[in-house]
């Protein structure tokens, strides 16, 4: 393979999917242990109105602006969930359900009613992602990876995601110990002087960041697959938290790479004349991995997948 086709067309989506998958799998580990997988789903939905609003207000689709909008929406939804829970006396799950469906619906409406649909954002991309659209036209082959001028033409999502993935994984690495203690035994953690509320809020923020990162790659709906499937699979394969996190990152990377390649080449290899959605394929591969682990794991739990 000389890379003249692979490098501009398949490599950038693959790397972007990989970075999004790593960003999600990291915080996903703590979400499933805290039985807050639903929070990941909520975050992946509420970022949509934030992204659309940021685009409409600024007229720019640059990653930092969309990110700021998404984080603002995540913060707003966290406040709304808390308000509904306290004022309405509903349980947290219901408060979350009300908030994230309402905010997601608002996002879809804003997309359709505004001009945003015609420019950089449209409903289909918001829902299913736009991995295939993130191509690198300046690349001519493997040599372009060393060509500074050509590298400048990389999709802007790629460096933005690299930054986000690095930030998320570094933060989790630094706060691993207090986060693990607070996740296992919150009362004890508080008695040790660990700021458990701040850590919980931090985890929500990281989840929101990861959801935004994944949004550009796989869209809202499939972000939950990236947040939950690799950690849930890893949880079935080990009883050590550190190993679980490392394994989940490996599985996430594998699903992203295998999913992108399979989407682009598997149908052609099978003699079909079309390709399938890369995000759909990544989610499928992730789900298959979880199913396989759930079936074959030596330490299957009676209650199966947690979260």
């Amino acid at each position: 393979m000389d890379g003249s086709e692979f490098v501009p067309l398949t490599l950038p989506p693959m790397v972007i999917a990989l970075l999004a998958a790593l960003s999600c799998a990291g915080p996903g580990n703590f979400l499933i242990l805290r039985r807050q997988a639903m929070l990941g789903d909520a975050m992946s939905h509420v970022v949509l109105p934030g992204i659309v609003a940021a685009f409409l207000l600024s007229g720019s689709a640059s990653p930092p602006i969309l990110l700021a909008g998404a984080l603002a929406a995540a913060a707003l939804s966290a406040a709304l969930i808390e308000a509904i829970r306290r004022l309405g006396g509903t349980d947290p799950g219901a408060a979350m359900g009300i908030t994230f469906t309402a905010m997601f619906a608002a996002g879809v409406l804003m997309l359709e009613l505004s001009g945003a649909a015609s420019v950089h954002l449209d409903v289909e991309h918001a829902l299913y992602g736009n991995l295939e659209g993130l191509i690198w036209l300046d690349a001519t082959g493997w040599a372009s990876l060393l060509d500074i001028a050509a590298l400048g033409g990389l999709p802007p999502e790629l460096p933005a995601l690299a930054l986000v993935a690095g930030l998320i994984l570094a933060t989790l690495r630094i706060f691993h110990r207090p986060l693990a203690i607070a996740t296992f035994d919150e009362g004890f953690a508080t008695s040790l002087g660990i700021p458990t509320r701040l850590l919980s809020a931090g985890l929500v923020a990281l989840t929101a960041l990861a959801a935004v990162a994944a949004f550009s790659a796989v869209g809202s709906i499939l972000t939950i697959a990236m947040l939950i499937c690799p950690p849930a699979t890893a949880r079935l394969l080990t009883d050590d938290l550190g190993r679980q996190i490392r394994l989940s990152l490996g599985l996430a990377a594998l699903a992203a790479v295998a999913g992108t390649v399979a989407a682009g080449y598997l149908p052609l290899f099978l003699g079909l004349s079309f390709t399938v959605s890369a995000s759909g394929m990544i989610a499928t591969v992730s789900g298959l991995g979880l199913a396989l682990a759930a079936t074959l794991s030596p330490r299957r739990h009676g209650h199966g997948q947690r979260g």
């Binding site: 242990l33 630094i174 706060f175 110990r177 207090p178 693990a180 203690i181 996740t183 296992f184 035994d185 009362g187 004890f188 508080t190 008695s191 040790l192 002087g193 660990i194 949880r235 080990t238 009883d239 050590d240 938290l241 679980q244 739990h301 947690r306």
Partner: protein, 261 residues
């Protein structure tokens, strides 16, 4: 609810020479939603003693412990330990929550849980080295669990889980131990292992406060009792305060005849 006054303190002259307090609560009130769970509790816990907090279900025993540690918001009240405000005293306090309050399916080994007790020494970024592992192993052997160091915590019996929690508290090297129902649902061997460790801590001059529900073992296990039913009923030595009239007043019902009149 009935209005009760702390009788014990005024009944025996010895009670006037109150022992030095390790922990003082002043006017503590905690409410869930609108209903007060504990109301205006003022209490002093004696230094170097083992004190049982007893009272009926819903009396607010666990709530009192949690509020003392700042784990629950209080409506009012002040907490002082070692003569210091709580925040400054916390490093000298070890808390053993109810065993059932955590998810034992968490991916951790027995040793990992005990190592959590060394968090203040190592800090958030600290590495776990040979010294920490040795200290955690030593704490495990004090509760007779060193053979289980590498065991998955989900694979332990209830009594073994309770001993691991106690080992984690030992690792903290605290001077005051607050335990929430340490004997709930444990086997007889664990119960005797735990009481042996607690008594040895007391004999080293440390203070123990435990929420306890088995009235039959109070005189054998504890030096002092605090009777609680949302409000403080009485506090004092087992000999003066663990009396049928006061305990009946606390429980609001007739009691088995094992308690001295």
């Amino acid at each position: 609810m009935t209005d009760v006054t702390p009788l014990a303190r005024s009944t025996t002259p010895a009670e006037f020479a109150a022992p030095e307090a390790v922990l003082t609560l002043t006017g503590m009130t905690v409410a869930y939603a609108a209903a007060p769970a504990i109301e205006d509790v003022t209490a002093r816990f004696a230094k170097g003693a083992m004190t049982a907090i007893i009272g009926p279900n819903g009396a607010g025993k666990s709530t009192l412990l949690k509020a003392t540690l700042g784990l629950l918001p209080t409506v009012s009240g002040k907490v002082e330990a070692f003569g210091l405000p709580l925040a400054r005293a916390l490093p000298r306090i070890a808390y053993v929550p109810q065993r059932a309050s955590v998810d034992w399916d968490f991916p951790a080994r027995v040793l990992d849980v005990v190592l959590m007790g060394l968090y203040r020494q190592t800090g958030a970024l600290g590495r776990i080295g040979k010294a920490e592992t040795a200290r955690a192993t030593e704490c495990l052997s004090r509760v007779g669990m060193e053979a289980f160091a590498d065991r998955q915590i989900g694979a332990l019996s209830g009594g073994q889980q309770q001993r691991v929690f106690l080992a984690r508290a030992l690792a903290q090297g605290a001077d005051l131990y607050l335990l929430d129902e340490p004997f709930a649902g444990v086997d007889a061997a664990t119960e005797s292992a735990i009481i042996t460790v607690l008594k040895s801590l007391r004999d080293e001059g440390r203070s123990i406060i435990a929420v306890h529900h088995d009235l039959a073992t109070v005189p054998a296990y504890f030096d002092r009792v605090l009777l609680l039913n949302r409000r403080l009923v009485a506090e004092g030595t087992v000999a003066t305060t663990f009396r049928q009239a006061l305990v009946a007043q606390t429980y609001g019902a007739a009691l088995p005849g094992t308690i001295p009149a």
